[in-house]
């Protein structure tokens, strides 16, 4: 038995559960984790309730890994509660880090989403046009559910965050590195993103010829050459604008990076960075004179759904944050 074992917590807010699976993907290393740490809260794996967390003294938890974004008042409450109860708070995975795919909900507001989900789906059987609401009186008493917000927020937009583990989900290697750093008490300065400083392209084995492109192919329009850079074959790949740590896994099955690792260091805007990378591979930047405004427009119009492509994982954390919806 190790004296004074660390106390670790895992929590999920607006998430998919994939981050918990990523923790289990540590495989045998999870046995090392439980050697050095007691897991004091982990809803997916252990029967510990919210009231147990509320009863913990402040800063009782040494490290809390918080996944999921914050999009209702219960998640906001849990973020604040776990901040209060934890010495170190880690935004674990793309949702907590940047909002991730569920952050695309920021292109709408709560009214639009509730109405789409409960009133306008083909499968809705809802003649009374019922929409869930925070408080409902039933004959036995009052039923409460969280208030659904207009805007998806990242963890750092809600409480102070000490570290970030990027990725959807975070690559096992990065989780293992973080656990090792915790075990050896060798965590980097607060605020650090616990991932390599390079881009996905730096980990990608495909070869590049500095080729320029003029045509963008959708993934189903072209069988790519297996060893060559997808972007140089005209397939939109977020690799140049995305932080590495994943060993370019998606590329191993000839599919492009869609950007789940988030922005590279010192480039806070992943979408803008990708637009800039595209401008350069399309030769728009260096050869400004060669293109008319119209031709640039034609080139760029090949990119369908730019917001969903360039900000698929990072909309809430970006300077765009959300779409302004006029009432």
């Amino acid at each position: 038995m190790v004296e004074n074992k660390l106390k670790i917590a895992f929590y999920w807010a607006a998430s998919c559960g994939g981050c918990e699976i990523a923790v289990l993907d540590l495989d045998e290393k999870i046995l090392d984790v439980v050697k050095i740490a007691d897991i004091v809260f982990w809803p997916v794996a252990m029967d510990i309730k919210y009231k147990d967390v509320e009863n913990m003294p402040d800063k009782y938890i040494d490290i809390c890994f918080f996944n999921g974004s914050v999009r209702n008042d219960e998640q906001e409450h849990m973020a604040k509660l776990l901040r209060q109860k934890s010495k170190v708070l880690v935004a674990f995975g793309s949702c907590a880090h940047e909002g991730c795919i569920p952050g695309l909900a920021n292109l709408h507001n709560s009214e639009q989403i509730l109405s789409k989900v409960y009133l306008k789906q083909f499968s809705n059987e809802n003649p009374d046009k019922v929409i869930p609401k925070p408080e409902t009186q039933v004959k036995e008493g009052t039923l409460r559910i969280p208030r659904f917000y207009d805007t998806v927020k990242t963890l750092a937009q809600t409480v102070e965050v000490d570290y970030y583990l990027p990725g959807c989900p975070p690559p096992v290697k990065l989780i293992a590195n973080a656990v090792e750093a915790i075990a050896k008490n060798e965590l980097p300065p607060k605020g650090s993103v616990l991932a390599p400083l390079k881009s996905v392209c730096d980990e990608c084995p495909r070869t590049r010829d500095d080729k320029k492109i003029t045509k963008i192919y959708r993934v189903y329009e072209k069988v790519p050459e297996p060893e060559k850079c997808l972007l140089e074959q005209g397939i939109l790949c977020m690799g140049p604008a995305t932080r590495s740590g994943c060993d370019a896994q998606c590329l191993t099955v000839d599919m492009p990076c869609t950007g789940c690792g988030g922005p590279c260091p010192n480039v806070p805007e992943q979408g803008a960075a990708m637009i800039s990378a595209l401008a350069s591979i399309m030769g728009v930047e260096e050869e400004k004179e060669a293109y008319t405004e119209e031709e640039v427009e034609t080139l760029m119009s090949q990119i369908k759904d730019p917001i969903g492509t360039f900000y698929m994982y990072s909309l809430p954390a970006s300077i765009l944050k959300r779409k302004v919806i006029k009432q």
């Binding site: 991730c100 989403i113 789906q121 809802n126 039933v138 008493g141 039923l143």
Partner: protein, 277 residues
């Protein structure tokens, strides 16, 4: 009325809480299962590229991403009006089978199983994977971990990433399987088959071999009479990748069978004010 609240529901994928109301006699008057979670995929998938759906919808659930991945991929087959070649169908089914290995191990040893393996009388703090390891021993624990990782590895070979795969395309998948990987998958699959038999034996010995357990499982409080819905092949055998949807009644008799594309004729979504799903 006195309200007993269970919040959150633990050891399952997803969020939930339960409100149980007791009357003056202390008997259960009514109970409500409330799902506090909504993200709105129905809305924000609109406007995205169709071919992105197999990647985007996996984020509905990171525990069963392969199910969402191929549901979307098959929807793309239909939208593009293409029938994938038999090799592609088999590779998709192979990947799904890898996922089943991992998912069943997850359910049996991590989520649902601890109640049985550690025991219904065990304290809550023991009813989890660590309690299972304590009870079943480190050798079983290492087998559990190894075979769960095999399931994930099979999905990763074919899908790029285990949680959240990316290989699904309209009419097929993005990458062929090479001989080296095929062999690796075959070895992992055979080993997993052995492990499944070991797990069945464990359930037999620990649970079914114990009359107290069996009485509990067969008691009213553990029995729910309900209809069941699942996918079957032409012989009504379960198939996880393709087939028809079959509904059976509480006695196991067929109530309905239909093509997945006709689901709107048979499936409707009811809405309550006090739960998001």
């Amino acid at each position: 009325m006195k309200e007993v609240v269970i919040n959150p529901i633990t050891r399952l994928e997803g969020h939930g809480s339960i409100s149980i109301f007791l009357n003056d006699a202390g008997e259960v008057e009514n109970a409500y299962l409330k799902i506090p979670e909504l993200r709105g995929f129905e809305q924000f998938c609109i406007g995205r590229k169709a071919e992105l759906m197999p990647i985007l919808t996996t984020r509905i659930c990171g525990v069963c991403p392969v199910a969402h991945h191929f549901a979307s991929t098959k929807a793309l087959d239909a939208a593009f009006n293409v029938d994938p070649p038999s090799t592609a169908k088999k590779l998709r089914e192979l990947m799904y089978s890898g996922y089943i290995i991992y998912d069943h191990i997850l359910h049996f040893y991590f989520l649902g199983g601890p109640d049985f393996i550690v025991g219904p009388d065990a304290p809550p703090e023991k009813r989890n994977i660590l309690g299972v390891i304590e009870k079943a021993g480190m050798d079983v624990a290492k087998q559990v971990i190894k075979h769960r990782s095999y399931g994930q590895r099979i999905t990763a070979i074919l899908g790029g990433k285990a949680t959240h795969p990316t290989c699904g395309l309209p009419g097929g998948i993005s990458k062929a399987l090479n001989e080296e990987n095929r062999k690796e998958i075959e070895e992992m699959a055979l080993s997993s088959l052995g492990f499944a038999q070991l797990s069945l034996k464990l359930f037999h010995d620990v649970v079914l071999g114990n009359t107290a357990y069996v009485d509990l499982i067969k008691s009213d409080s553990y029995t729910m009479k309900t209809y069941y819905m699942g996918m079957v092949d032409d012989n009504n055998k379960v198939n996880f990748y393709d087939g028809k949807i079959r509904v059976v009644d509480p006695n196991g008799l067929e109530f309905l069978k239909f093509e997945p594309k006709d689901y709107l004729d048979h499936v409707g979504e009811h809405v309550e004010e006090w739960t998001y799903s």
